[in-house]
Amino acid sequence: MDDLVLQKIAISGPTLASMIQRLSSSPADVDGLLFGHVTYIAPSTLPDDSAQSTPDSQLVATISGFLSFPSLLSFYDSLGRVDPSRLTPHLDRKTLLGWFSSRRNTALRPSMRESSVTHSLFSIPNLSLPIQNANSNSSFNPSIFLLFTTPAHDKFIQTNQYRAFQFQSPKLSFSPVSIDIVNIGPAFRGHYGSFSPTSPLPFLDCELRNLTAMHEDRNEENLIGMKQASKYQSELDLNAEGLTIERLRRLIGPEAVNYTAGLEDLYEKMLSKIESLARHVEASSAKVLEQTHSGAY
């Protein structure tokens, strides 16, 4: 089997930060699983020099979630053999990219057992995930290993090091892969194309067209609309008991704007009520003070 070589690994800043937070707050070494997806990205720049060979595949693995285990040897044994029966309960329709390990005060290289776990994870059948945007029906075996350490010498400054590797089965070797940390901001907008929302709730159109236009369309799409609504309703019923799709739609559609405006108005009125009450109290206590003063002399 040909190994698919990753060009880079993308991870969002908050995901990485929450991983590091989890690892550094743990009293001991931690390891766990990495979830996400692999996307084929068409090269955006065409080289002027035709002789220059461009990599024909640009695979990017996007880490969108992780699961850490409370103890060592959680889904593998002391020889680093992965136990599929201990692994599958954690997968739950999520696609596995690989795993990570964090150990303090050690070198930033895969260890003996880590090599074995990575090899074992790679070799388990039925764990491969489909590649998005790929032209052929190719799949990717979980081969990513993300290693976190702290330097062995540094005692006074908290330092976290991390390095990502992709395991390559023909040579049984690890090749380092660059990590792209995707942050919010105009420079990173393009990167969000590869992130897809995973929400258990049905996808509802938030139509921002004006209401009169909608009323005209409603009549034509009535049948389709009803069918759609009953489909959404059944999706919603999987996650909530007795909430109609109409009420959910009211929370996100154009009506939600009125709802928010109404609530904001209510809060504003409540605030002004408190303010007038405060003014009353101030005035009356001033009077009380005046009376006691005049009474004293």
């Binding site: 743990s26 009293p27 001991a28 070494d29 103890s71 060592l72 040897l73 044994d77 002391s78 020889l79 680093g80 150990r103 303090r104 005060n105 050690t106 070198a107 290289r109 895969p110 260890s111 003996m112 057992r113 880590e114 090599s115 074995s116 090899h119 062995a152 010498h153 040579k171 049984l172 070797s173 690890f174």
Partner: protein, 384 residues
């Protein structure tokens, strides 16, 4: 927690390893992986006349888990747990696999067994890598030299430097420890020939001679210094199998001679007794050091004799140490090493001792003046 800062189960296994490993292992960079105390360290394991550094990572929070190991940065394709090795390697892998799969943290011998097993696997790994180098002479050398026992190979491939294959060839099948009476050495003493072949220079017209160096286990220095040995020259077109027998023969002779020199040194120290009195301190095994108490008038001092392994060809070095003068740093005043006085290796031991006494009697006056001159407060001195 035991006295060395490790949890008791790690402490016991580490101690057993240090006491029972056939090579002298050093422990460095002891550190902690969490709040449970020290649980990780670096082992410096002798291999091929150098050290390999392996990080041993226990986990104080999970005492039942066997330790994990991070190998050196050059050995990133050494994967002892993967069942992929060719020929003998596969069987060897099962050794370390067995130790890890029935790990018992209460058994102090486990770490020693694991490191021993992994070092053997590492030896095979390096041997396989050396065998894969595309170099005809090297392939020939490896095939002819392999029957010798205990040969270790190492291939260094540091980025900028040219590739080299290093051999450590243990020489002479003799037990030096047994030849020394009341031998204090815990580890067997050995002499090795280090042979370094440069590889990768495909277009060189003639194969250049390998770089040769004699090396020994460090404690052997007390008996025999390999630096004093002149290596026979390596002729063009020679191979190791031709070179080694001559070298071994001459070395064997020199080691036997070195052992017999211990007695010569002992007799010399005994010959000093009538002139200097009984030694305060003497090295009873190798007879390389002896210290006597001496005085000249009221000036009392020590005479240290440092007798090299080249004695009697090389005369002993003397050092005088005052018992009355102390430097501002609080250290007793000492003379420099005195190596230049009348000497002949053909003298009888008693004559050597007598001549040294004469020299020391003269020299102690110089030394006394040196001590008093540099003393900040003059000592009460007897007038001559």
């Amino acid at each position: 927690m035991s006295s060395d800062g490790f949890p008791p189960f790690i402490s016991a296994q580490l101690r057993y390893l240090l006491d029972h490993f056939p090579h002298k292992i050093r422990v460095e960079q002891v550190r902690s992986g969490g709040s449970g105390g020290l649980d990780r360290f670096t082992l410096l394991i002798p291999y091929c006349l150098d050290y390999i550094k392996w990080d041993v990572i226990y986990n104080a929070e999970y005492p039942f888990a066997p330790p994990d190991i991070v190998f050196g940065p050059e050995d990133d394709d050494f994967h002892p747990l993967l069942m992929t090795g060719s020929e003998g390697e596969g069987n060897l892998n099962s050794g370390s696999r067995n130790i890890l799969s029935d790990w018992n943290n209460k058994d102090p011998t486990k770490l020693q067994a694991l490191i021993q097993e992994l070092r053997d696997q590492y030896m095979f790994y390096q041997r396989r890598r050396a065998g894969e180098v595309d170099d005809d002479r090297l392939k020939f050398e490896i095939s002819t030299i392999l029957p010798r026992e205990g040969i270790e190979m190492h291939i260094s491939s540091v980025a900028e430097k040219a590739e080299e294959v290093k051999f450590a060839v243990p020489l002479m099948d003799m037990n030096i420890n047994k030849m020394v009476h009341a031998c204090p050495w815990r580890h067997p003493q050995k002499i090795y020939l280090q042979v370094i072949y440069p590889v990768g220079r495909k277009y060189a017209s003639t194969a250049s001679a390998p770089r040769l160096k004699l090396m020994s286990t460090p404690e052997l220095r007390a008996l025999f210094s390999v630096d004093d040995v002149k290596l026979p020259s390596w002729l063009d077109g020679m191979c190791m199998a031709e070179y080694l027998p001559n070298l071994e023969e001459s070395l064997e002779k020199q080691v036997r001679e070195a052992v017999s020199l211990i007695d010569i040194r002992r007799r010399f120290i005994e010959a000093l007794v009538p002139f200097f009195g009984r030694p305060l301190e003497a090295d009873p095994v190798f007879c390389g050091k002896a210290t006597f108490l001496a005085s000249s008038g009221s000036f009392v001092f020590l005479v240290h004799f440092l007798i090299s392994t080249q004695f009697p060809k090389q005369q002993p070095a003397l050092m005088l140490q005052s018992l009355l003068h102390i430097s501002p740093q609080g250290v007793p005043k000492k003379s420099p090493l005195l190596k230049d006085y009348p000497w002949s290796p053909r003298w009888e031991a008693s004559q050597m001792a007598e001549r040294i006494l004469d020299f020391a009697a003269d020299e102690c006056l110089n030394f006394k003046r040196f001590c008093s001159d540099s003393q900040p407060q003059p000592q009460p001195q007897s007038q001559h």
